[in-house]
């Protein structure tokens, strides 16, 4: 019946490593309305921003704000690259966090709440494989969301504002080619930082059966970390907060590129993600599935 030693005694055609293929899980998630909405919004957001900029009445109200936000906002209409950068800036701190938490926090918890998780385990899909495939698919969708956002913004911004050099307040302007490279690096760093959110949401997804709890919990903890990061009295403790280096990608805009905080940010994010995922796997491969 079985073909190899590992499938001895199994039904014909069953191989543990062939269960729940990546494509199957990808389709399972693709058919969900929340996936379609989240990805759709990633496409829509840059267009909304673009339209909003059209309403610029021209009265320069530049007294308020300050910091890198206003400078990037002022420069947002100077070219497609700057427009993309602005779109990333406005979505990095919250929207992308929510989207990543949605993809990673919802994936296991929703199956548990539908009751379909136990049928997957009874196929049987090995638990570690189930988690691994679910995690990879969730990460793939998160990356897709990031790329859709950046891609749409770049396309729409370039069509509207042209293929101009990347400008910022902290460095001289960069040639479009160099600017594109920087933009890709910014995307890469954002993706790495969001791994910590992905880890947290995924862990909560495994721990709880309520999808909302996993997604909301991850976002709440992320916000809590951001708030704590604002409290300077905490001193060195802040370096251990997962959000501490979330804005270090601004260093990629300066010339020469400031990588020190990026490196620390990567260490922080990867360490957190590894920790959260390890706990998630450890927990899920041992727990009694009662939902």
């Amino acid at each position: 019946m079985g073909q190899s030693s590992s499938t001895v005694g199994a039904a014909a055609g069953y191989r543990p490593s062939a269960t729940l293929p990546f494509a199957a899980e990808f389709r399972r998630q693709a058919s969900r309305r929340r996936t379609q909405l989240a990805l759709g919004f990633m496409v829509l957001l840059p267009l909304i921003i673009l339209i909003a900029f059209q309403f610029d009445a021209g009265d320069d109200d530049r007294d308020g704000g300050g910091g890198e936000f206003s400078s990037l906002a002022d420069l947002a209409t100077s070219g497609g690259l700057n427009f993309t950068l602005f779109s990333l800036l406005v979505s990095a701190s919250f929207l992308l966090v929510v989207v990543v938490a949605l993809f990673c926090g919802d994936t296991v918890a929703s199956e548990a709440s539908w009751g379909s998780l136990r049928y997957l385990l009874a196929i049987p899909v090995p638990r570690a494989r189930l988690l691994a495939v679910k995690l990879l698919v969730a990460l793939a969708y998160s990356a897709l969301a990031l790329l859709l956002l950046a891609g749409t913004a770049l396309l729409a911004g370039t069509l509207r504002y042209g293929w101009e050099p990347l400008r910022s307040q902290v460095s001289a302007q960069l040639d479009p080619g160099e600017g594109l490279l920087r933009l890709l690096a910014v995307l890469g760093y954002l993706a790495v930082v969001l791994l910590a959110v992905a880890g947290l949401a995924f862990l909560l997804s495994v721990v709880t059966d309520a999808a909302l709890g996993a997604v909301g919990g991850a976002v709440l903890l992320w916000i809590l970390s951001s708030i704590l990061d604002q409290i300077e009295a905490l001193g060195a403790v802040r370096s251990f907060l997962p959000t501490h280096y979330a804005n270090a990608w601004l260093g990629l805009l300066s010339t020469p590129v400031q990588t020190d905080d990026l490196v620390r940010g990567c260490i922080s994010a990867i360490a957190y993600a590894t920790l959260f995922w390890s706990v998630a796997f450890w927990r899920f491969t041992r727990k009694d599935v009662t939902s």
């Binding site: 039904a11 199957a24 136990r118 251990f240 270090a248 990588t259 490196v263 009694d288």
Partner: protein
């Protein structure tokens, strides 16, 4: 069993909640502990005592002055364990409190630190003599006496303490002058200080004397601003504003180069009655010199002489104490040239000298963290070796740093440190020549120097260099000479030189020469806002007759990128300097020499950033290795897994052996369940709600780990995830579907997840069993309970598994569907297949199953073929007119026993006696028999259970 059966779910819920609370609390406590640890007050590794030390100084050493001091003593210092000392001097306008953070850091490193407020400042008495050898320096000598008298301080000889002198700016000048005047000093670390005070305030960049220098009125005014107002004014003017950009001595760590905070703070409390409104706490001679210079913008030889007296320049040959010179590149008050002169002068005697540049200074403050850390490290290393006698000789290599960019997180600058073996001086160890050209241009000198170009704003240099637009030249008042774009980047390290020619109708010209870095976009940056003022005399009226003069520009450390241009601007005014009041028009032309840029070949100092890069690489490697190890371990465990076939159960679809499941809170859901399912059988698992049926099935599906016992499927041991599970189709605890997919898509998605061949699924049979018709294309979210149930059964049958496990399959079905389901299940259990059905309905099991297993409270109560269980039992229920009489009659019959019945019915074990005979006996006795109901075993078993406890025992 009773109490757990009802309270268990509650307790279980409590248990999990408690565990979560515990976990949450632990996390909160850890977080709080970490926060406390980080925010803890500095550890009390030392104690402090305040003292008012009266010293006798002055030219004759007989003028008493009270000095306000604080002595920091490490906790472990005592007369038996003497420690080396550090004399810590503050900057101009500061007090002993300005160096508190540095003092505490040094004390924590094991030094006894004496910080005092210099005379003329704060609560100390006396007047400001600008580090005069007879006053401030002599005060410090008396402080050395005081240190030597302390029993805790190590001494080299009686009255000679083991001591280093550390200070920045005004304090740095004192360190140099004290070391020159008193041999007892063992090492000094003067930071951002001067070599020649007259040259610092009256610079002349073609090498002219201070008497022809251009007065640096901006800085001089800030330092002297307090002179006129001994009361309160200056405190607001410079004390407050200066403290802001100046710096963060607290965060910079020990001996951060801390310039003064302006005179305001110091002159707040003038000695009663001594306040001269023009001079405040300044000594009369210093005050008079300032007033003279500031009035004319020129220094008389006497004034220069006074400033020279307060300068290390003339006494460098007497300094024998090893000297670490720290100078800032962002310093328009005491530029790099001051430290360079000190270094050369001291090294000429053979005294060990080490030079370090950092990117702060009087304009730039403590600089980036990497810089203040380096300065801190170098200082401690210097003191440890030359004062304490610990550690290897620090060597004399030269370290410097260059601003490398802007830190987005800290909103500050980032600097890269470099090291080179020998101190190259300001001329560098190599040079690049760049042709900078332009025509002769007229340059107007406006009356009274107004409007003036802005190059630097004292105390705001770092800020100014960041903000484009602050610095600017006035049109018509400057000449520009530019280079072609550089073909390759050049790292300027040192003082560039350039030659100019100038003509002036008055024969004299005051000019400011600046080197701009111009990017391809045209934005010009003046490094650190530094300018080279020159006063040229004896000039011709026509430019053609002008002779070239070489101007030494201020020392800088800067990388000029390829493609950038270099621009020399020669301006007639600068806000920070006094310029001639007469309006004139000069003519300025480039000289005969190119712009010479000194360079230094330095290797980058590895910083923590490099370490972090390795940490990142290590982390990634660890993750990869960890992943590989985990996968390998899992494979190995998998291989070791028992894949043998239990010979006894090889052909048995399901054998459950002494199964026990105990939850973490101690609740026993299944205590001992033991049954088998053979091919061709439809086995009913019968029991009331909460009997343990579902728990048994959960274990069977690999969802839950059993506490004890085994399950064999076709002789193979079943554990969670066993491949043999693929031969079982299941419906456990209700259907579970993706609500957004149609019924058919759900089945397809499920089968896709199995990874098995499409043809093996037998969708048609399954769909036929589901009997959903066209509804199979609707989303399952819209299904009724029964439809979902049928779809779930169809899903369980996908692939026609050899063992079908159905938990309450008829739940939600209507009677015709139930009847149909019965037929389906009976038909299914052919061809060697078997079905296990759980139910709490007796009738269902009776009608559907071939065999039954009755469980209650986690135990098997009865099991066997349904025919056998349901078959007639020897007990009979009689419904009679007179039960009491009937009992008597029956009691007399041989072998017939009346069984106890909880409901008071008359139940009789006929024990072989024919029922007709028993009825005849009763009738014969005149008792009317209404009904005779034969009892069945299954019902017996069931009634027995229900009799014991009619309540269910909760969800198991």
């Amino acid at each position: 069993m009773r109490s757990p059966s009802s309270a268990a779910p509650v307790r279980r819920a409590l248990g999990t909640r408690r565990r979560r609370i515990v976990a949450g609390s632990v996390a909160v406590v850890l977080l709080a502990a970490a926060a406390l640890w980080a925010a803890r007050p500095g550890e009390a590794g030392f104690r402090t005592e305040s003292a008012r030390i009266t010293v006798r100084s002055g030219p004759a050493g007989d003028e008493p002055v009270d000095l306000d001091a604080t002595f920091y003593l490490p906790d472990d210092a005592s007369a038996g364990r003497k420690v080396p000392a550090v004399l810590l001097a503050h900057g101009f306008g500061g007090t002993k409190e300005s160096v508190r953070a540095d003092a505490e850091d040094l004390a924590a490193q094991g030094y006894a630190v004496l910080a005092w407020t210099a005379r003329g400042f704060g609560r100390s008495g006396g007047q400001i003599h600008l580090d005069s050898p007879d006053h401030e320096v002599r005060d410090a000598e008396r402080l050395l006496d005081w240190l030597a008298a302390r029993p805790e301080v190590r001494t080299d000889a009686p009255g000679d303490p083991r001591v280093g002198v550390v200070g920045g700016s005004y304090g740095g000048g004192l360190a140099l002058l004290l070391a020159a005047q008193d041999r007892r000093v063992d090492a000094i670390v003067p930071m951002i200080t001067w070599n020649d005070l007259s040259r610092a305030f009256l610079p002349e960049s073609t090498g002219g004397p201070a008497t022809s220098g251009v007065f640096k009125k901006g800085w001089a005014g800030i330092f002297f601003g307090g002179g006129g107002n001994a009361g309160s004014g200056p405190a607001g003017l410079s004390g407050g504003s200066a403290a802001e950009p100046e710096g963060n001595p607290a965060s910079a760590g020990p001996p951060s180069p801390t310039p003064g905070t302006g005179p305001g703070t110091g002159s707040g409390r003038a000695p009663a009655g001594a306040a001269d409104p023009a001079c405040g706490r300044f000594a009369a001679d210093v005050c008079a010199a300032y007033l003279r210079i500031a009035t004319t913008g020129r220094a008389e030889p006497a004034d220069v002489e006074l400033l020279r007296r307060s300068s290390p320049a003339g006494v460098l040959d007497r300094i024998k104490a090893p000297t670490l010179l720290v100078q800032g590149t962002a310093d328009s008050l005491f530029p790099l040239a001051e430290a360079d002169a000190n270094a050369r002068g001291i090294a000429a005697n053979g005294t060990p000298v080490r030079v370090a540049w950092y990117t702060g200074g009087h304009d730039g403050g403590a600089g980036p963290t990497s810089d203040s850390d380096r300065v801190k490290y170098l200082t401690l290393q210097w003191l440890d070796h030359y004062v304490t006698g610990d550690g290897p000789a620090p060597g004399d290599d030269f370290t410097y740093s260059r601003v490398a960019g802007f830190n987005a997180l800290e909103r500050g600058l980032v600097a890269t440190g470099y090291r080179t073996a020998d101190y190259p001086g300001l001329a560098g160890d190599d040079r690049r020549e760049v042709a900078v050209t332009g025509p002769a241009q007229p340059v107007a000198n406006p009356p009274n120097g107004n409007p003036a170009a802005i190059s630097s704003v004292p105390f705001a240099g770092a800020l100014g260099s960041l903000l484009d637009g602050v610095a600017g030249d006035v049109p018509g008042q400057h000449a520009r000479f530019e280079s072609a774009p550089l073909t390759e980047a050049v790292d300027v390290t040192g003082a560039p030189t350039f030659s100019i020619r100038a003509a002036s109708p008055t024969g004299e010209a005051v000019l400011f020469v600046k080197l701009y870095d111009v990017d391809p976009g045209g934005a010009a940056t003046l490094p650190n806002g530094l300018v080279a003022p020159v006063r040229l005399t004896g000039l011709p009226a026509e430019i053609g007759a002008a002779k070239p003069v070489t101007v030494t520009l201020p020392g800088i450390v800067r990388r000029v990128e390829a493609g950038h241009r270099l621009r020399i601007t020669v301006a007639s005014t600068d806000q920070a300097y006094t310029t001639p009041a007469q309006p004139t028009v000069y003519t300025v032309a480039a000289g005969d020499a190119p712009l010479v840029l000194p360079t230094v070949t330095g290797e980058p100092i590895p910083t923590a950033a490099t370490v972090w890069r390795w940490v990142l690489a290590g982390l990634l490697a660890a993750v990869v290795v960890g992943l590989v190890v985990v996968v390998l371990l899992a494979r190995r465990r998998h291989r070791r897994q028992d894949s043998s076939v239990h010979p006894e159960y090889a052909g048995v679809p399901l054998a459950v052996r002494q199964l026990r499941k105990e939850y973490a809170d101690g609740f026993v859901a299944v205590s001992n369940v033991d049954f088998e399912v053979h091919p061709g059988q439809v086995v009913g698992l019968l029991g009331p709600n909460g009997a343990g049926k579902t728990t048994t099935l959960r274990v069977l599906m690999g969802l839950t780990q059993p506490t004890a016992g085994e399950i064999y499927v076709f002789g193979r041991r079943l554990v969670p995830g066993s491949p043999v599970l693929s031969r079982i189709g299941a419906l456990v605890e209700g259907p579970g579907f993706l609500p957004h997919l149609s019924g058919l898509d759900n089945l397809k998605a499920y089968w896709r997840a199995t990874g098995r061949p499409w043809a093996d699924a037998h969708f048609d049979e399954a769909l036929e069993i589901a009997g959903l018709g066209e509804s199979v294309h609707r989303k399952t979210r819209k299904y009724s309970h029964g439809m979902r149930q049928r779809l779930a059964i169809a899903q369980a049958m996908l692939g026609l598994p050899e063992l079908l496990v159905l938990d309450e399959p008829t739940d939600g079905l209507d009677p015709p569907q139930i009847a149909e389901m019965r037929r389906v299940l009976q038909r299914y259990a052919t061809d060697g297949r078997a079905v296990l059905v759980s139910s709490h309905l007796l009738a269902e099991v009776e009608q559907t199953c071939t065999h039954a297993v009755v469980v209650n409270k986690g135990r098997i109560v009865a099991s066997g073929p349904v025919a056998e269980i349901v078959g007639e039992s020897p007990s009979v229920l009689f419904d009679v007119t007179d039960p009491a009489a009937a009992r008597d009659v029956l009691g007399r019959l041989d072998g017939v026993t009346v069984l106890p019945d909880p409901e008071g019915n008359l139940v009789v074990d006929t024990n072989g006696t024919a029922r007709s005979e028993v009825v005849a006996e009763l009738v014969r006795a005149g008792i009317g028999v209404d009904r005779v109901v034969p009892r069945r075993r299954l019902e017996d078993a069931f009634l027995a259970l229900v009799g014991e406890n009619s309540r269910g025992s909760g969800d198991r």
